[in-house]
Symmetry: C2
Subunit: 323 residues, 2 copies
């Protein structure tokens, strides 16, 4: 399997680390020559491209797209038409129409396609959901999901037209994934997205209430405009007979930087007041290896298109509600 990473900066580096750890040959495109130099030096990549057309036309079997959200459709479809399998950073696109075109292109060109949603692979959250499904806390009545940080993004991640929005469609989509994975389908969202104190053009803070088909209710908070924030549980699941919430102490101190070098998202679940120990696994390696395995065995990709579109739709529902 030969891979070309399209966009080496930022999260591209986290993907690059996975290819190295998984022993997979890869080349890199970036318009920034210093970024290319970083890959040559740190990962010994043979081929680097500063022209995206050359990168797309190279002899790789798959491309890994880490570009501004607004470019997802154009570049992914171009790659698929060249016969490449495509993995792509979230969000799938900035509109459902774009997303649908991407999925249709993968069918038409008979290539695998997957959104890289590493939160889907988080062992702690998956354990928490398993505990709910095993009825350890009775019927769930309330789910609280939140994350907060102070971000002063520049470049395309501060531009509303490149992002398709603001903080929510960028980092917030992971927490939308989390609340929907726990809560399931919703019948209604009450929400507001607005601008607090960040460098973004678009919104940087969202508050929302989810009303799930199951009858349970969700509270959601995501912000890039919270200075000197406390570290608080990212998820709480409250049932008629018990509760599960994230233990903040066992969360990596910095995002994806655990003491052991294994990259994961959430601290261990606390079930009915007792910490549950989790076998940690690297979420980036899981998603990339899972995708490559699905290509090799021609099976379903491990992260479904339905979930990628579900998350985007929820975000667009929230944006439509506006302020």
């Amino acid at each position: 399997m030969k891979v070309t990473l399209i966009g080496g900066n930022g999260f591209g580096k986290l993907h690059g680390e996975s290819y190295k750890q998984l022993g997979i040959e890869f080349s890199v495109y970036d318009r920034n020559l210093e970024v290319l130099e970083y890959y040559r030096k740190n990962y010994g990549v043979k081929n680097v491209f500063d022209n995206i057309e050359d990168a797309l036309h190279s002899d790789s079997d798959m491309v890994d797209i880490v570009l501004p959200h607004k470019m997802h459709r154009e570049i992914s479809i171009k790659a698929m038409e060249l016969g490449k399998h495509v993995i792509m950073e979230k969000p799938i696109a900035t509109t459902v129409e774009e997303a649908t075109e991407i999925i249709e292109a993968s069918v038409k060109n008979n290539v695998k396609f997957m959104v890289a949603e590493q939160y889907n692979f988080d062992p702690s959250l998956n354990k928490a959901i398993k505990l709910v499904n095993e009825n350890k806390i009775g019927k769930v009545h309330t789910i609280i999901v939140r994350d907060q940080r102070e971000y002063k993004k520049t470049g395309w991640r501060s531009k509303k037209d490149q992002m398709g929005g603001g903080a929510l469609i960028d980092g917030g989509i992971h927490y939308i994934e989390t609340i929907l994975d726990i809560g399931g389908d919703y019948r209604k969202i009450d929400s507001y997205s607005y601008h607090g104190g960040s460098s973004l053009e678009g919104e940087d803070t969202t508050v929302a209430l989810f009303h799930f088909v199951s009858g349970s209710h969700g509270m959601f908070f995501y912000s890039w405009a919270y200075r000197d924030f406390p570290r608080l549980p990212s998820y709480e699941i409250i049932g008629e007979e018990g509760s599960i919430y994230e233990d903040v102490q066992s969360r990596p101190q910095e995002e994806f930087k655990s003491m052991t070098g294994i990259r994961y998202v959430y601290g261990n679940p606390v079930l009915n007041g007792e910490k549950v120990e989790i076998h940690k696994e690297d979420v980036f390696n899981l998603e990339i290896k899972g995708f490559i395995d699905s290509i090799k065995s021609n099976t379903e990709v491990p992260y479904s298109h339905n979930k990628a579109i579900r998350n985007l739709k929820a975000i667009l529902d929230i944006y439509r509600r506006g302020d």
Copy 2:
């Protein structure tokens, strides 16, 4: 000043403790003879009444009403017509009409009236609000207020018709006070109140979004149906240039039971990441002494009727929205 405490059980005991600490003579009515014995033994009260009419007709200057919410109007108006000043546990009443009748009766009978909302006197929260008003965190964009517990109430506090609702109109009203004290007037609330796993007939959990006239947004959570809950900040105030949230470590381990015996509500504020030390004061003594002083000096009561009605209206707004 001679006081009759009408309803000695539960929170009545916390009021009784204040009369003792403030050196104020008081007598007690309760229908439960064991409760009366408790007061005779622990507080050396001379007069006890197991008949409410006798208690109301005694020679006290003021009565302190700690009865089921649904009885507030009848008993308080009866006391006022007998010329007694009245302090009364929250909520003021179960409807705005009842509340208005009570206030009108205090004017007509020329007696002082006040709702005992001890959270209004909490020195930590008042310091936090002062810091916001001193512009220490810039324009506030988000306020998060929450509290959770597992309560298995029996007796009248489990009965919807006696409570005028469920957990929100009972304990939750304090946190409504908090979010409205921070956020000010609201233009709209999105909310749901519903039943989780408690012993209540009525709702035991509320999720709400407040949209304030100032432009800021509030998230609110209150539940009596959260087993094995984590201890989390009760309030977070997020501004464009900083933040203030409650330090959980300096909150009393149990409600109103601090190590020093001084009864207060919230831990110290954390302003822009740094703990702010607060001179602790007893919230029950402050409210009762404040009310008695206003009688003696014939000045305004220290907790306004407007706030008592404001809180009730917000709760009824939330209940109207229903589920």
